[in-house]
């Protein structure tokens, strides 16, 4: 068997695929963050908590109401999106004229409060979410077992990411959104309701986090900590990709998932830090991130 640095190539291929799957989560989450930052200029620290709430929503729907996975994929993002709209209207909208720091502190505080509430109610070990029956089992790819559900995650994440990218970068609605961030006054003069557009954008970003949460529920334990563990990495992904760059967030999400996966093979102890090492290097060489524009 051929080997690369002492690791059989087949095993390596498996690890690359695993990295891609984890990257799918990074991509979906950093996409939401990038959309919110790009259009609202808010650094949404509540994103991890909203992802966690998405997973909890799926769990609650299943265990309390008997509503399954597919409906959860729709209901949870819509419900959480509405929750996001509420937050934007009542709190965030007061902060746009102030420094970034205020938005950061508010969303961070909210994240801690939400996480604390769920911790108090559901404990720290989390709740199990049953894998949907359709996805039981795994494909035997020869070089690895690929659980059906993980394959679905990659496909679904790609569809979500590409659709979002297309809507924002290639459609008329997207062009309004982008124009509104450049110069809200002029766009408003053309008769576009800019505040409403911004509110809906935040709701959409939160919905994306919730969607990622529902998709994560069958893989990870549904626990109050699940977002806090992930959000820091996702922030690093957004920073590396370039704040506010939609395409950058998607590409770096997948890319860093793969790099992290490889680190888990060659030097697992460093797998939690490798992304931050890359972040430091990227910031030194390209302060605006790989795909970001200097503002």
């Amino acid at each position: 068997m051929t080997e690369i640095f002492g690791i059989p190539t087949q095993a390596l291929a498996g690890q690359l695929l695993i990295g891609l799957i984890n990257g799918a989560f990074y991509a979906m989450l950093s996409l939401g963050l990038a959309v919110i930052f790009g259009l609202l200029n808010i650094i949404n620290f509540t994103h991890g908590a909203q992802y966690m709430m998405g997973a909890f929503a799926a769990w609650l729907l299943l265990s309390k109401l008997g509503i399954g996975y597919w409906w959860s994929l729709l209901i949870a993002p819509v419900a959480l999106g509405a929750f996001g709209v509420l937050i934007e209207r009542t709190m965030l909208s007061r902060l746009y004229k102030l420094d970034h720091l205020y938005g950061l502190l508010l969303t961070f505080g909210l994240a801690l409060v939400l996480q604390g509430l769920f911790q108090n109610e559901y404990g720290s070990s989390g709740q199990p979410y049953r894998l949907p029956q359709e996805f039981a089992g795994a494909f035997d790819l020869g070089f690895m077992m690929l659980p059906r559900y993980r394959a679905w995650v990659v496909v679904a994440s790609l569809i979500v990411c590409l659709t979002t990218w297309y809507v924002i970068e290639r459609t008329k609605l997207g062009s309004y959104l982008r124009a509104a961030t450049e110069n809200p006054t002029v766009v408003q003069a053309f008769g576009v309701n800019v505040p409403r557009m911004i509110t809906l954008t935040y709701g959409f970003g939160v919905g994306l986090a919730a969607l990622a949460g529902v998709m994560a529920a069958p893989i990870y334990q549904v626990s109050p900590q699940m977002g806090a563990n992930l959000i820091i990495v996702v922030f690093a992904v957004v920073v590396i990709g370039g704040m506010g760059s939609i395409g950058g967030a998607i590409l770096t999400g997948f890319g860093l998932g793969v790099i992290e996966g490889l680190t888990k093979v060659f030097y697992p102890e460093a797998s939690n830090t490798v992304i931050f090492v890359i972040m430091v290097i990227v910031l030194l060489i390209r302060p605006a991130g790989l795909f970001g524009k200097e503002r």
Binding site: N22, S124, I219, S271
Partner: protein, 404 residues
């Protein structure tokens, strides 16, 4: 974000402690018990607030008030960080006049707190902290290690599995003091019983995604995947292992440290058949059941883990020793604890050895199938009982300086 969170939490703890300090000046005739553990992270369910409940129950059952003893309980969140833990310990001992710290999960933290306690001449009753070094090279006259340790776990679960044919192992180890100690002690047991270790991987603590490590374990073709981790890490590893068809593929998980709350969180569908070693289970006899019912009423209906039981029993024995020695001087009370035989409703009769190791019988449990369980929290059946003398590392092998 983490550091900001840390500073906010420590501010909150600081404020709580400042309030405690004001009270301490009123009276010096108070026995202050500090419950120090992970209140909000990975280990919060298996110890956490439940340990405070258990400590309160011990004070109540000791009838401290009726005996004219004033006992206060403080609690703190060490967030699984040795620096945070030892800072709280120093503050408690120096400013708040805390006499004894109990529980302390997370081996890296408990080793740090152990050192602070030794320097200050106070007392430390370890229930959830696991490393067998506490009664080995890190042992001292201030500490008692109550509930279990890594040697006991390795000896219980490890040897049971090797003897039933699981003779090649791959370790998935949490990369800190606890994981390393558990891996070391289990590897020794595996090799002693004629097994072999074909590989190991050390994962960052805490981790949520184990797929990459599981794939490596799968590729190793080892018969047994030893999980030298705990809490949410173990839960996620087992859950994702099911997804990758680890057990279907003929491999077996050895959960080297599994608590009742972990099984509860996994659900019996995923956890069934798992072998594990614990020194306490709520459904052992009438006394443990009575304790569990009271505990559940105070703790949202959850049943106590062995960590909670250890907090209860160690605080009870500590108070007996304080009463007998008429002092709350840490070293003197711990010496008294070693002198008096132990007797409590949860662990029965036992002793605290010279090296600080409390010994009692331990159990090898098997997690029930869903069909065997009568409902929530009915999870274990006893596979074997290991007598106290065999359950823990012989005193001579630990290298504790107190043992001559």
């Amino acid at each position: 974000m983490n550091s900001l969170k840390r500073s906010i939490v420590s501010l909150a703890i600081g404020a709580a402690l400042a309030a405690g300090a004001a009270q301490a000046q009123i009276s010096d005739g108070v026995i202050k018990i500090g419950v120090l553990n992970d209140m909000s992270g990975t280990y919060a369910d298996l110890a956490g607030p439940g340990s405070v409940v258990a400590a309160r129950m011990a004070v109540e059952d000791f009838r401290a008030a009726a005996k004219g003893m004033k006992v206060e309980i403080l609690s703190g969140d060490h967030q699984n960080k040795p620096d945070v833990g030892s800072n709280i310990a120093r503050q408690w001992y120096d400013v708040d006049k805390v006499d004894v710290i109990v529980d302390v999960p997370t081996s890296s933290v408990v080793l740090a707190v152990n050192e602070v306690t030794r320097q200050k001449g106070k007392a430390l009753l370890v229930s959830t902290g696991a490393t067998s070094d506490l009664s080995g090279k890190a042992c001292n006259a201030s500490s008692v290690h109550w509930t279990y340790d890594t040697w006991m776990l390795a000896n219980g679960t490890g040897s049971a599995i090797v003897k039933t044919g699981g003779d090649s192992w791959f370790f998935l180890t949490a990369d800190y003091a606890f994981g390393h100690a558990l891996e070391r002690d289990t590897e020794a047991v595996v090799l002693k019983n004629g097994g072999k270790v074909v590989g190991k991987v050390r994962h960052p603590f805490p981790s949520s995604d184990f797929s990459s490590f599981l794939l490596q374990a799968q590729a190793s073709k080892a018969k047994v995947i030893g999980l030298a981790n705990a809490g949410a890490d173990t839960i996620n590893a087992i859950k994702q292992g099911a997804e990758f068809g680890i057990v279907k593929g003929g491999q077996q998980f050895a959960g080297l440290l599994v608590f009742l709350t972990d099984v509860h969180a996994l659900g019996l569908n995923t956890a069934q058949g798992l072998l594990l070693t614990e020194s306490f289970y709520w459904d052992l006899n009438d006394q443990t059941r009575a304790f569990a019912r009271r505990f559940g009423a105070l703790h949202k209906g959850a049943m106590p883990t062995m960590a909670h039981a250890g907090v209860y029993a160690s605080v009870l024995h500590y108070l007996k020793a304080v009463e007998a020695s008429k002092t709350d001087d840490g070293v003197k009370v711990v010496a008294k604890m070693k002198e008096l035989p132990t007797d409590d409703p949860l662990f029965g009769k036992g002793v605290v050895r010279q090296d600080g190791r409390k010994i009692h019988q331990v159990y090898l449990f098997e997690v029930k199938k869903p069909s065997e369980s009568k409902g929530a929290w009915d999870y274990y059946k006893v596979r074997a009982t290991i007598p106290a003398e065999q359950a823990f590392r012989p005193m001579a092998d630990g290298g504790c300086p107190l043992v001559k």
